[in-house]
Amino acid sequence: AQSVTQPDIHITVSEGASLELRCNYSYGATPYLFWYVQSPGQGLQLLLKYFSGDTLVQGIKGFEAEFKRSQSSFNLRKPSVHWSDAAEYFCAVGVAGGYQKVTFGTGTKLQVIP
């Protein structure tokens, strides 16, 4: 069965600084990988996803993520953080092919300070 680890429970960055949120997955074959964001009191919004092809994936709101098979990682990055990016971020892994269920990581809560 697949699993996801987000080692950072809470991260604080200054507005305008760069951001990297870590995600490591465990799955025997090529995974489907996702990043979701949950703002306070909101549901989950899909930021980006990786299925195959180019390992650098662009998403909404200026986010990108890079799939590194050798490291079993799918880290989320943003070059310059805005105060509105404060939220909780969830990495998720799904089984490749067809309809699927996903397994979510425990989330990383991002705080942005002025």
């Binding site: 549901g43 989950l44 299925f51 799904g94 309809y99 996903v102 425990t106």
Partner: protein
């Protein structure tokens, strides 16, 4: 992607009562799921809602506690029965696969509703 709504958005309930949460999608979708997010925790899949048949429950979740209905391709309900304070959570509906005229899109991605925040006293 589909637009997903949930009712109620939040509720405060007494111990021992039941609450039914509705999930409505503006398009027909292939699959619907129900998740629970306990305070400070990640999402846990409760069950897959199957149209016209019994839901498929994950380990640790049973039909008597979380009965689910899915009468058509756009609607599902989750009931939290005989509630206790441990049931205080956010309950989220998610969907996969929007059915179009000649195909199905988004078959590999889950989209989520806004959630229902339940507090049990």
């Amino acid at each position: 992607s589909a637009v997903i709504s949930q009712k109620p958005s939040r509720d405060i309930c007494q111990r021992g009562t039941s609450l039914t949460i509705q999930c409505q999608v503006d398009s027909q979708v292939t699959m619907m799921f129900w998740y629970r997010q306990q305070p400070g925790q990640s999402l846990t899949l409760i069950a897959t809602a199957n149209q016209g048949s019994e839901a498929t429950y994950e380990s640790g979740f049973v039909i008597d506690k979380f009965p689910i209905s899915r009468p058509n391709l756009t609607f599902s309900t989750l009931t939290v029965s005989n509630m206790s304070p441990e049931d205080s959570s956010i309950y989220l509906c998610s969907v996969v696969g929007v059915v179009l005229a000649t195909s199905t899109s988004g078959t590999d991605t889950q989209y989520f509703g806004p959630g229902t925040r339940l507090t049990v006293l």
